[in-house]
């Protein structure tokens, strides 16, 4: 499984767009990129997933570099409710017996100021 590197913390003001980066220099061709977030006192929550290029949903967008070694989660117009720890996870869905195994690192703690 590819190792991921994220900044430990970020800070933003309400209404700003926030970009959280994730480096996965050893990503394999069969590995996908997932982002989860965890707000205090709750379990992690799925945000978005992608393999290459650009993915967007109602919550966020995900840009993946052409060589797939870097991904960036973009959160438009953050609010206080977006203050959370954001986890980037890379996992091999073709690996036999992986059972949807997710390995969570330390993540990026996003603080949002009013």
């Amino acid at each position: 499984l590819a190792k991921t590197t994220q900044p430990p913390s970020m800070e933003a003001y309400e209404g700003q767009e926030v970009n959280v980066s994730c480096s996965h220099t050893n990503i394999a061709t069969s590995e996908y990129i997932y982002w989860y977030r965890q707000v205090p006192h709750q379990g992690p929550q799925f945000i978005i997933q992608g393999y290459k290029d650009y993915v967007v949903n109602e919550v966020a967008s995900l840009f993946i570099s052409a060589d797939r070694k870097l991904s960036t989660l973009s959160l438009p117009w953050v609010s206080l409710r977006d203050a959370a720890v954001y986890y980037c996870i890379v996992t091999d869905i073709l690996l036999s017996g992986s059972f949807n195994k997710l390995t969570f690192g330390a993540g990026t703690r996003l603080a949002v100021c009013p």
Partner: protein, 113 residues
């Protein structure tokens, strides 16, 4: 919206005590997971299961047993609790292999004195 519930939400026990944490999902998901979360370690996988009667060992299984009695119910057992097992425990469920979207419960905070 997928639903995963856990009970109890908080539990205090003493060293050597016997603890059972319960998890129920109403998502009709095959896969269920138990994680623990500690400061400085992120979430770590204890045990997981792909169906009733099945159990797979995760990354930090020592001191824990688990049992999947039905598709909905997954239990984590600590038969001789130790202070090192003081942690926040999360249960999760997911649909068949490949989707990787896991739905997490609200967590159980366990304190072992």
């Amino acid at each position: 919206e997928a639903a995963v519930t856990q009970s109890p939400r908080n539990k205090v026990t003493v060293t050597g005590g016997n603890v059972t944490l319960s998890c129920r999902q109403t998502n009709s998901h095959n896969y269920m997971y138990w994680y623990r979360q500690d400061t400085g370690h992120g979430l770590r996988l204890i045990h997981y299961s792909y169906g009733a009667g099945n159990l797979q060992i995760g990354d930090v299984p020592d001191g824990y047993k688990a049992t999947r009695t039905t598709q909905e119910d997954f239990f984590l057992l600590l038969e001789l609790a130790s202070p090192s097992q003081t942690s926040l425990y999360f249960c999760a469920s997911s649909a068949p292999l490949g989707t990787y979207e896991q739905y997490f419960g609200p967590g159980t905070r366990l304190t072992v004195l």
